[in-house]
Each structure stands twice: as C-alpha cells, then as structure tokens.
Point group: C2
Chain length 372, copies 2
Amino acid sequence: MARSGPKLTRIARTLGVSAATVSNALSGKGRVSAELAEKIRATAAELGYVPSLAGRALRTGRTAVLGLVLPDIANPLFPQIAQAIELAASSAGYGVLIADSRGDVATQTKAIERLIDRDVDGMVIVPRRGTRIADVGCPVAVIDTPSTPGNTVAADHWGGGRQIAEHLKALGHRRVLVIGNNPASNVQNDRIGGIRSAFGEAAFVEILWIEALEREAGKGCPLGLAEKVAEGFTAFACVSDLHALRALTELQRAGINVPEKASVTGFDDLIWSPVVTPALTTARMDMTRIAAIAVEALVKAIGERDPADAGIGAPVTAENAEVPMQLVVRQSSAAPPTTQFQPQTIANAGTTAPARTTAPARTTAPEGEHQS
Amino acid sequence: MARSGPKLTRIARTLGVSAATVSNALSGKGRVSAELAEKIRATAAELGYVPSLAGRALRTGRTAVLGLVLPDIANPLFPQIAQAIELAASSAGYGVLIADSRGDVATQTKAIERLIDRDVDGMVIVPRRGTRIADVGCPVAVIDTPSTPGNTVAADHWGGGRQIAEHLKALGHRRVLVIGNNPASNVQNDRIGGIRSAFGEAAFVEILWIEALEREAGKGCPLGLAEKVAEGFTAFACVSDLHALRALTELQRAGINVPEKASVTGFDDLIWSPVVTPALTTARMDMTRIAAIAVEALVKAIGERDPADAGIGAPVTAENAEVPMQLVVRQSSAAPPTTQFQPQTIANAGTTAPARTTAPARTTAPEGEHQS
DNA sequence: CTGAAAGCGCTTACAG
DNA sequence: CTGAAAGCGCTTACAG
C-alpha cells in the first residue's frame, strides 16, 4: 500500500488481542467489553491508525466512493456543485470521483462505465438534456428538476421563477423578455414556467431561445436586446446568470443603462454575479442542502443494498425532494423607467402583437397583453 | 463487490487454466504462449471482464486513483482544470478524487490527509497563496507558475503577460492600468511581470490591487476606472477574466465604450469571455497540455516508486515544465481613442505623477512615463 | 510456458 | 466477551 500508517494487526499485536476484536471494537459491531474497546480505540488513535480502504473494500464490497457525473463539466455551476457534493460526501465518509463527458452522450456513457468499473458505491448525476440514466447498477441520485420523471433531488426551479417574476412584477414591469437557451431543458422550462405563472395576466411575457437564434445568426450573435427595449420591454429575465451577463453587457454596450432603462435578472448566483456592475439580481439554489439530501439518500440506499446483487436491474435511487430557491436582489433590477401601476386594466387587454414603440410611452404602453 | 462482471477465476475456470496464467496473459507480464494469451484475452473481453481494483489495490499497493486538490474550488478556472485532469488521468487509467478546502488552509490540510488516507497514488495540487506542500508522502504535481520554487508544471504566465502587453503596445496604448488581486500570488506576479517587461519604457504602467482596495473601500467597491480614463489611461490589463469582467461592466456602466474609449484584456479565457459584449481579449493556458504533463510526471513517479516505502520523506514530484500561453484577441481591445505613435520621445520622459487630464489630449498626453 | 501457493488488510460468521 | 479461521480478487515470486 502507498500508506504510511500501521495496520489493524499492528494494533492487535500491540494490545495482545486478536484482529477480530480490534475490528469489532473500532466498528462497534461485535460485542466487546467497554473497557477493552476503549483501550483499543485509544491505541488506534495514538498509533494513527487509518483503515485500508482497499482491504475493507475487498472484504465488504463497499468502496466508500461516490461518482459525480457532470455531462458538461464546463458548466459554470460546476464549482458550486462539486464543492457541495464533496463536502456532503466527505462528511459521510465517502470520497468523490469525478467523471466528465464534455457534453457528449457517448463519452458520458463511457464515463459512467468507468465509474462502475471502479466500483463506486453510488453516483450523483447532473443530467443535461437527453441524458439516459438506465440500468446503472448502483444507487443513483439525480440532481435536476422535480418535473423530471424519476427520482430526483432538485431546487424548486419553478418556485425560483415565481420569485423572480414576483420581484419584477412588484417593481412595475409589464413587458418582460425571458431569455433561455434551449426548450429541451427541464430546468429551464421549469424556471420559465414559474416566471410565466407568477406574471399571469399581469404582464406581457415573450421568450427568446438563444440556441435557436444562434443556429441562424451564428454563435455569439447579438441578442437584439436594444430593439426589444425599443419595443417597450423593460425587463430581461434570464434563465442563467451566464445569459444575464450576456444581456447586461449587450444592453450596456448599446448605451442602455441597467437598471435605469432596463432590468436584468439571472439564475444560480454564479461567481461573477456580485462583482459585475451593476451586480446581478438572481435566484440561487441551496446547493448545500441539495447535496446533503442527494448524498443522504445515496448512503441510505447503499446501506440497504446487498453488495452481492449488483448489475443490471438494481438501480436504487434517491427519494424525490424539492429545495426552495432563494432570491438575491442586487442592483441590476429596479423599477422600469416609466412606472405604470394599473394592474386593474389588464384583464381584458387583448392585443396579440406588441405595438412597436421607441420607448415605453406613458399611457399607450401595451401592458397586460399575454402571449397566445 | 458492488460489481456485476465476472472475476478472474471465472475466466480461468472457463478456459481450464490457472488464475495466475490469466493474470499474466492480461497484464502481459509473465511468459504466456501467444496463442493462449490471445484466447484468454478473447474470453475476457467476451465475458466483459473488468479487474477488481480493490483486489488489485490490496495486492499491489496501487489504487489507480489520483487526488485533485483545489484550495479554492470556487475558482472559475476549476472546470477547465478538472476537465483536463480528468481526461488525462482517465486516459492513463487513473480515477480522479476531488478534494476541496474552501480557501481555508486548515481545511486543505484535512482534505489532503483524507486523500492520503484513501491511498491515492499521487496528487495534482493547484496551490493558492500560502499553500504548504510538505511531506505529503506520495508523488505530487503542482500546477502553478515557473517562478514557484519546487517542481511544477505551469503555463508560461510571464510569457502570457508579454503577449498581452505586446498586443496592447502594438495597438498604440501608452498608459495602461494593470489590475490584479493580490501581490502574494505567484501567478499574478508573473503575469504582471511579463506585462511590465514587454512594455518596458514604451508605456506608463500602473498597478491596481483589488484586494488592497477592497480592504479599505469594502468588498465589491467600484474600482474607480472612470477616473483612470479621465487620467488618460486607455487600457486595462487584468490578471484574470473575472477582473476584466468587473472592469468592463464598470466602464460600460460609466458610459465609457469598450473598446472605443478604453481597451480591456483578461486572462484564462473563462467561460463568459466569448459571450460578453464586447467579447474579451484574453490569454489562455493550454490546460490540456498542462494536465497531460502533470499526469504523465505523476504516473512516471508512481511507477518508479516502491509501494512499500510510503510515509513522510518520500514526496516525489513532477519535473519542471512550462507551457506557452495563447493570446486570444477579441473585440474588447482596440487602438486607443487618440492614436499616438511616438515611441522615440519616450526614453527620457521623466514626470513622476501622471498629469490629470479629462481625456487623453493629443499632444500633452503623459506617455512614456514609467513607474518609480 | 504454466500452475500451486501465499498473502495484501480487512470483516464476518462461527466457536468457545 | 473474545479469538481462530476463512475469504473478498488479485498478483507475484517460485517451482515445475
């Protein structure tokens, strides 16, 4: 072993007892007299005994290692996730093996296989659109969104969307552009659904899908936000802080001051959100709690599992759980340039297409419209 | 084992040979006749044999696992690093265990200890200021900067700084503010050193340390960049894209167009750099190569190492290596508002403090000054 | 070229 | 309450 410490037998010899007794004392399983157990524990601590995971793994079939599968490790959320999972796992006595798949589905399958070949006791998977988590053969906890079929631990993305929308609504925004990347993402759809549901008839909400736009206009193309402002949009609710950043800089570049002329909000409270000017209003997930729940479920499933029955058909899973998101209000959101508080007039407004105006006019603003 | 596949003996039985022969055939070590070896390999593949790492680890003292130590996992560079290391490691047959320490030195020591307790064969450490990598007791590869004493693999940060400076110099900038976080960072100092050295007497270069500023003005305080522009600075060379982002938005917010009125550059090509408006000019590390070198060095050291001699006093390490950085020119940098090409007049200019001007005046611009 | 034997460090029934 | 024995799956000298 590449280890320095003493082994179990060393402690046994030192104390003149059997290895079995030492093992029992340390694990608290077999019956060992209180005083002997205490003596053993003391000696073990003194000698700096650390059990060999390899020996234990070979015997018990448990490696005390969890796999963390990130289909797209470039995801800026990764640091948050990895940190939270690592903390939860190590607190529970587990190590975390990372597996990346650079967005590629085939690579991902390979990555999961490698993890299995390494005998992880379970894995945490953060899926991206199209991820198939079939017969993995070990307990799996999926971190995604509650709307995903199957057992998952997730932030309440829908609720997060509602919070963002309520915030914007209270500020007086009546024309908001929601910016998402891809409609195939459950997370994004939940967030957007929450936003729309909270606005209800109180605002005209339009959605811009970046990926669709980029397919035509090219990667990194302008989002055309200045035009949107000209059309009367006063708020840009982005499904991720990365998009919010893109929106913010595009607006600023066009000479549109945020938040005076337009508000921008994001999601996830990514690293740059507090340092950007103006700082981004966002909704953050409670990663610590999500990770804790995921790992706890995993540990439980691992404990209940018979190490013998591996292989296909034994995908144990985490219980469903939903963790509230937290709204973080910063400077990027404020009341719209022309504050309009006439929510009563909304119900029967029925224009289908938003009127083009250079700036949100005081009285003719097309508020209260809703998307078809 | 939490495994599905067949074990070695299963293959041996199937073929009517001994386990030893199977092992030898598969590893190519002991002498086994070519045809039997082939038959064994075929059967192993057919049966989907995957060796038990636990069994092997117990016997050989090698776990085939590398530890990845990130003193500050929140580091936005983390995804790049983790991805590159994971790829290099898995290509070499190693798994990657992550260890986080949330910026805390004590936690870090704990994290490294946990890794050792898990018998990693080696580790990759990305240190942050003040990290002590002492007698870890296993091969270690440090990813930092060549100026760090000890064996490291690193990007040529100094060279990267030079590239940034040459770029800015060629554009015509003669008054640049370098923005760093903390002078205790070797990486930052190298980058800054490279910048200064490339500018030489060709420009007046001043340094702004964010951390020092924030200690007085508070976390997230304005950097006062508009004032700097008023003082005649036309370029802001940031030591990280995170700072560049902060600079960019602060300038934009102040109504200073980038790059027309001021250029901004960063480092590391972080995820948002290409999508921001204007996209950030930056210098990126070749993480793939750095990771490859680090892992290769580790694997070599592990191979040469006697599994028996563990413990204190055996910190093998990676050979020193330096990987060039690559300049990525995007829209955030351009010629300064008033192009001034009079490098000849520079040598004997000697004002100590820059003259305060509202805008870089055509002829009186305090170019060619150098810091004391 | 091939196989029998031992043993890596641990835990788990099973006796005593 | 304590210990002797067996065995997890592999690899490595060592015989043959």
